[in-house]
Symmetry: C3
Subunit: 109 residues, 3 copies
């Protein structure tokens, strides 16, 4: 038995929880902020059998991996009046930090 502790962006949390459930993996979400990733993240606790570790990591990677997104910036004001940017910019979103710990004992009480 392993305990997987993974910190992901809030925006990816609901999709990750669903994807894990679809593969029979139940997780608990803790409200968390700052640090490993940008502000607004969620920490998942996930207890899995040893042979499920690679599957869990694959699901986390699929849903949460760092990826680029093209964003068209909002117009903003300069001293000369509104500035209309016409070039979308590339931003990085997602990312997951994963700690895998050995569980000495697991019980349903």
């Amino acid at each position: 038995m392993k305990l997987i502790l993974t910190i992901v962006q809030d925006a990816d949390a609901p999709k990750l929880q669903n994807a894990l459930l679809e593969h029979g993996l139940r997780s608990t979400k803790l409200a968390s902020t700052g640090g490993f990733l940008r502000e607004g993240n969620t920490t998942f606790l996930l207890g899995v059998e040893d042979h499920q570790v690679e599957r869990a990591k694959a699901i986390i990677h699929d849903v949460c991996r760092e990826r680029s997104k093209m964003l068209r910036p909002l117009p903003h004001m300069s001293e000369m009046g509104p500035v209309m940017p016409n070039e979308p910019i590339e931003v990085t979103i997602g990312g997951a930090t994963v700690f895998i710990l050995d569980v000495e004992e697991f019980a349903k009480l």
Copy 2:
């Protein structure tokens, strides 16, 4: 030294914290949601000496174990008018998921 991480229903959390304290075990509660149990659960962190592990598990079992409760359903409306159920139904409440981890080092700083 062991770290016990246990996820229980919100309704059982205050009673569990008190029962642990009465046995000299101090715990920290983390707000958590979903997954191992129904929505609305609490994750406890509990650092104990090796010889206290069985006592801690017994307390968690006493307070939080899955148990049945007879509930009389609230009346509800059908197209034919209010329906008054006269049979109480059995529901399952409680339950605790417990992970016990080895602590390499413990300190009060």
Copy 3:
């Protein structure tokens, strides 16, 4: 790799997060209450290389260690009228509980 899980008073949490960052250590904060310390505490998750454990503990100690503070109590009302205490009293603040766990595997996915 080690996972440091430390529980500190809310009042010390922002300063601790900054001090860790200044030394290149990124942490995640979980909202937590009660137990190891007085009400209103914060649990930090901190993944560090083995050689960074002592540095992390030193930073936690510097920022969060138990210390005394002289407080002048607020005036309060008695049946005889307002009571003006003229002696400041010494209170203990701070304190950190630290668990260090071995990490079997660490990944950025």
